[in-house]
Amino acid sequence: MYFHDLHSALHMDGHGAFVWAAYAITCVVLLLIVVAPLRRRRRLLREMSAEARRQRGVPTQGSEA
Amino acid sequence: MSAPSLPAFCLRLVRRQLVLAVRRPVEILNPLLFFAMVVALFPLGLGPDPKSLASFAAGTLWIIALLSNLLTSDTIFRGDYDDGSLEQLLLAPQPLYFSVLAYLGAHWLLTGVSLALISPLFALMLNLPLEALPALVASLLLGSGVMSLVGGVGAALTVGLKRGGMLISLLILPLYMPVLIFGSAAVRAAAQGFPAGPQLAILGAMFCLAIALAPLATAAGLRISIDA
């Protein structure tokens, strides 16, 4: 590691705020573009399975008993 | 009887557009009036000092010309789309590329050329040096041609939409930027006593490229809009 301790890594000679903010924003955006389609897919799957269940109708329970 | 030749058909289309515009002269005058009014806004916003006005004049005039071109480009195909004329044009045996070129040519004559011709008047009001006037007119003539052609692409893609007005500016303003850069640079160069030839040559090159490619995209856009 280039830095001696955590504090100097965070501070970076006064540029730390800029550097860390840039990385933080980037991470958030990158996470968003990966997570958004995953969430959409999960929502779609849930919607579609609900639709399939509706079409099959309510299962008749205990008819054999 | 055989089909009319392509140039005859295109000339006829241009003539029809011009007749339509002349019968409703407000449509020609509106962009010019818009131009005049926005020119009046700049001294109000920037202060009346002739020196500072002169230093901004080249860019200002070009931006206003660009905006008034933008505002009219939405209407290039709209009327003909609404009343069904566009369908007939698409079905005509003549290639759409040339019909579109005629349409955009008519638009250029009505907005770009008329604007370029009266622009010296407003340039003097903004204190632009006299030496820069030929460069201003020439750059506006070439540049508005490019803008009409590029604007036609945006108009064709949005003509089928109810609310196309704002959208079309989002689509085509980024494409106007190179024209603005070289157009205003030509005027500024001339105002400072340098030759404006190189910038005008680049504008001419853009014009040629736009003539070759923009009608293709416009024709494709019209087919999509009619189909949607």
Partner: protein
């Protein structure tokens, strides 16, 4: 909207497309005309120039009927002023040639666009609701014109809710729930 359609239209045929609202009459006609090229799967082969008249009459309010009609047929051939005036007279617009179109009624606009039927050389006509806003006499004249075109070896496809009044030999395609 519909599927599994297959038919030929031959010279000498008068075809009426029927169907409820939303059955796809206009869409079918636009596909036949080549205005809709996507959004459907299949093939349309055309072997003859066609004339398509859509819902909108394509009449410019700022032009006179003469100018409008002259522009409508401009792509086809250069008909003289006399032929254009004669065609306008055939649709009952005699004396209206030089009136600005905004002074005319919707039915008269429709007549301007229908005047093309008296000029056109295209063998195949595709007419979308041609009777809209046309009075009884006009309908009869239009039916006659279509019959004459078919008798001369042309073909006409049109959409309409009403059956033709006169006694003509009509082939009817009925679009019902997407089928013929």
């Amino acid at each position: 909207m519909f599927g599994g359609l297959s038919f030929d239209i031959c010279p000498g045929q008068l075809v009426q497309i029927e169907g409820a609202n939303g059955a796809g009459k206009t869409s079918l006609l636009r596909i036949l005309a080549g205005l809709s090229r996507y959004g459907f799967e299949g093939r349309v082969e055309r072997h003859a120039p066609l004339l398509y008249l859509g819902h909108q009459p394509a009449v410019k309010a700022m032009l006179t009927p003469r100018e409008n009609l002259a522009w409508h047929v401009a792509g086809e051939a250069d008909f003289g002023a006399a032929a254009i005036d004669a065609a306008l007279a055939r649709v009952g617009l005699y004396g209206y040639e030089d009136v600005p179109s905004h002074a005319l009624s919707a039915g008269q606009h429709r007549r301007v666009s229908l005047a093309r039927l008296y000029l056109s050389n295209s063998p195949l006509w595709l007419l979308d609701e041609p009777f809209t806003a046309i009075d009884v006499d006009g309908v009869a004249a239009l039916e006659e014109r279509k019959a004459a075109h078919v008798a001369a070896g042309g073909a006409v496809v049109f959409t309409s809710h009403q059956p033709m009044r006169g006694n003509y030999n009509v082939r009817r395609l009925c679009l019902r729930r997407g089928l013929l």
